[in-house]
Symmetry: C2
Amino acid sequence: MDPSSLATKALRAPGRRRASVPEATVARLPLYLRALHVLAEDGHRTVSSEALAEAAGVGSAKLRKDLSHLGSYGTRGVGYDVTNLVEQISAELGLEHRCSVVLVGVGNLGRALAGYGGFASRGLAIDALLDADRSRVGEVIAGLTVQHVDDLPQVVSTGSIGVIATPGAAAQEVCDLLVGAGVTSILNFAPTVLTVPEGVDLRKVDLSVELQILSFHEHRKAALSAAGATA
Amino acid sequence: MDPSSLATKALRAPGRRRASVPEATVARLPLYLRALHVLAEDGHRTVSSEALAEAAGVGSAKLRKDLSHLGSYGTRGVGYDVTNLVEQISAELGLEHRCSVVLVGVGNLGRALAGYGGFASRGLAIDALLDADRSRVGEVIAGLTVQHVDDLPQVVSTGSIGVIATPGAAAQEVCDLLVGAGVTSILNFAPTVLTVPEGVDLRKVDLSVELQILSFHEHRKAALSAAGATA
DNA sequence: CTGACTTTGTGCGCGCGTTCACAAGCGCGT
DNA sequence: ACGCGCTTGTGAACGCGCGCACAAAGTCAG
């Protein structure tokens, strides 16, 4: 959200009919997509915004507004065609031509990510594993052979997504390597603030941060109930 | 952010001087805390908002406003006292009395989370591992013995945080178990929409969603550069 | 063919979060 | 002791996103 937002608004072509889907909407599209897959396997041909919103855990108005941002593909009085909507969202997310995903760092977390089946849920899957530790090179994890990080330029193709699962100390170095190899979308699991040049999208997932946020809420609730008991 | 926000505003005691720290600020406090630890180890006694903001990857104005929400602990003309600020933020996050963290599901991801050192970075650490698979019970991972999920009520104490790292199909069931045992803060890694009763805070981390968001940005950038090349 | 019901699409108001810019406050050099 | 420069804290404006509520639109029954 920090440097990526300013890259998002850097365009306004006159012939462009769709005015750049809002970031908040993009973040929910994968949720809709997953809910749609479940509904499709249950045999539903169409869904109302109400039902889909329920399945995705959002409000129905929000859902309709989100979908309206990528064009109107619903039929009034009926709802949305499930398969059609799946195609539209997949197209919007760019999931039809699977861009390769390169994971750097096969420690505990990297191993788990490589073997995490949830990635492949109709979408993206990891294509290459890299590590700086030569003793790990050659190891086969989840059907993929670990390569050395020096070979990174050879395994990265244009449009690749890089995933950093290294210790924090090595994260910036690996990040620079990825950027140098042409990667413009990076997902960082290391607990470090990374700096990337403009034009590179960077998202971070910090597990300890999530726990600390929950700790805050727990702390607040405890203080509240204590205050309530005193009063 | 969805059902938790309405629980947040359910309080307005007259004597309360600090009007409930905004959610967005809470999400950044762990970042500041980590940056402060690094600065402290570098020997810094004080930090200016500019320097700390740089280290945390945010704007300096935002940082100051965030810190102002938990009382004014800076000295004008000098900056913030590092150790004092660490204490203040830790107190706000409730990190001094370490509430226990219970992890359910020791598959690939659960194993990685258990062994993930990043958790213990001056804050929270996982205290118990549970699984529904009896063949895994008794196994020792990262110094902890895996217990059966039926023993959950015994290992959960008031104020515990629950972490769900099970397959999606079991997530709701485990969630209900946690809630039934008195857990009111849950972190969900399973790719499923969970429903919890009011008063329970639920955060979710979905790895495939993150990748799909990046895929969208990559797709958009590719489309843009293609359009630019054509024009 | 018509009318009534269902569901989408969206215009508007509101609240939150971010940013700018500046006044207030504190230390320090002289 | 006194002003000078640095940094904090905050008031105000802006923009985004959310939710409500309704009109447009399409389907289905008769």
